[in-house]
Symmetry: C2
Subunit: 321 residues, 2 copies
């Protein structure tokens, strides 16, 4: 059986180029480019909570990093470094090799260097901290939205939740739709290029991980503004459009979670520039609502007739029922 040190050496030690010092010392060392600040985010994924026991290790390596890169994207930061803390029930080398392959394939795609971490025995748990760089005046903070701004969303929300609904037996998807939804669930693509392109253009941004309504609500809260979403304008994937269960569609679109799209606000006079980004980023960008002076607490979702719709969920809460 490999030791903790063997595991780190075999699977998680890679030469670094940008960092001054990577894995193998008490700390990693990294400089920051002039004019930039460090953006840092941490996410923890727990077995049986965020992923199924027996989940594909390569996909898990991808997703664990992807959800963190999504946070950097939502800040408009360029990904640079990551640390990985890993608790494992045993030193299964097949699992480790696959996990590392999924992790590093995504890391390499975004130029992310693994600079440190920790490996220990315990119930399976993956905790990643990512670091990126952003000019502070261009960071896409949640508190920057202005009254009158549009609300935009990238891609489509609800697909990962629809895939989960299929797995839970609540809906039966066609094969192609299922494959699409499970890819969205297990292998999300962090919207890094979009986040970088939105520097200086978006007034506020967040990544959609807990459900669209809850997450745009956080922009409202932090900016002290009311948020309104137009339900009919929300983009829907073909898989979701084919679903006949209107209640489920609504839940998926507004409260599904695990979307890893960006929701952001921008001034109305930026509409043409935002729309032009869709081509650059190769992503659907849809104007779905607006922010205005008013009560920041609850996001208002209006149907096609302008009537307020009832939202059933406030977003995913790990300590909720």
């Amino acid at each position: 059986m490999p030791s903790e040190f063997d595991i780190i050496r075999r699977y998680f030690t890679r030469p670094v180029k940008r960092a001054l010092l990577g894995v193998g010392d008490d700390c990693a060392l990294m400089a920051i480019q002039a004019g930039m600040v460090m953006a840092v985010s941490t996410d923890m994924l727990v077995e049986d909570r965020h992923f199924f026991s027996g989940a594909d290790a390569a996909l898990l390596g991808h997703k664990a990093l992807a959800v963190n890169l999504s946070d950097l994207a939502a800040m408009g930061a360029a990904p640079r470094y990551a640390t990985l803390a890993l608790a494992l029930p045993d030193a299964d080398e097949g699992w480790l090799a696959q996990f590392a392959q999924g992790f590093f394939t995504l890391a390499d795609a975004f130029g992310v260097e693994l600079v440190g971490g920790d490996t220990t025995r315990g119930p399976r748990n993956i905790s990643i901290t990512v670091m990126g760089e952003v000019p502070p005046e261009l960071a896409l903070r949640r508190d920057g939205a202005k009254a009158g701004d549009d609300v935009w969303v990238s891609g489509c929300t609800g697909d990962a939740a629809l895939g989960l609904a299929h797995l839970a037996g609540r809906v039966r998807l066609e094969d192609a739709a299922l494959a699409y939804c499970l890819a969205r669930l297990h292998a999300p693509s962090p919207r890094v290029a979009l986040g970088l392109a939105l520097r200086g253009l978006a007034s506020g941004a967040i990544d959609v991980s807990d459900g669209l309504a809850a997450d745009v609500g956080h922009i409202g809260e932090r900016s002290g503004l009311a948020v309104e979403l137009r339900y009919a304008d929300l983009p829907r994937s073909p898989a979701l459009m084919a679903c006949a269960d209107d209640q489920l569609v609504r839940e998926c679109l507004l409260a599904g979670g695990d979307d890893y799209e960006l929701a952001f606000t921008a001034a109305p006079d930026a509409r043409a520039r935002v729309a032009a980004l869709a081509g650059v980023a190769g992503l659907l960008l849809t104007r779905v609502g607006s922010v205005s002076i008013g009560e920041a607490r609850q996001v208002c979702v209006r149907d096609a007739d302008g009537k307020t719709m009832k939202i059933d969920s406030k977003g995913f809460d790990h300590f909720g029922s």
Copy 2:
């Protein structure tokens, strides 16, 4: 029951002064002082592995941060920021309040700002990433030792392990000795001031967390040098000196782990300056060995007669037997 967001708001959201943006956005933002680089380290503590189920929550909050600050100390970095990812079986507010109190008391003592994190349900797991600043040319790397350098250690090693040996029924300590050893085990003091004072003085450094022999061995490995320790010169606390079990004493001193002292190398002409630091840092600093040209693999421990002693353990390995 409090929600995930309530928990973060109530227990883990504090105003930040140094950071540009703290808890509550997709990322935290922080600048680095001119001439400095960021030093980063991550540690994960797992219930029933690193701490007992039912362990005092305030002590756990202290220790989880302390073991990370010890890594910054070993790099000569000034502690600045931390992120905290926490998996908990339930949202026990009494536990959370105590954990936060232990964490923030130590954080405040070292000027560390909590800038981000994640809270989720799961088997209890604490993963902390700390960030500090250090001028890159003064960082205390493991690979900087030079042939002929002395090996030094701060404080005493073996006390935490002696406390554990008592808990395991292997030895019976007097009350005062037990209290001392358990304080060393549960509430280690990271040697931050010493690490800062060693900038420009130590050629290599490591924090002693897995056992003195194994950890100074890492300096040897990374520096490509042989390391020799003089057993008779190793500092011993009164608690350890009172222990009649020579075999246990040897294990504790050389391979105990959980010491969170600094082991470091320095040139012989720095002896007076290092010795003078003991007063400043309020810490015993003892010269316990030397490094020389030779096989880096195995640390050689010599007894009072100059004979090589057999070392029983290679340091703590989380996947070892």
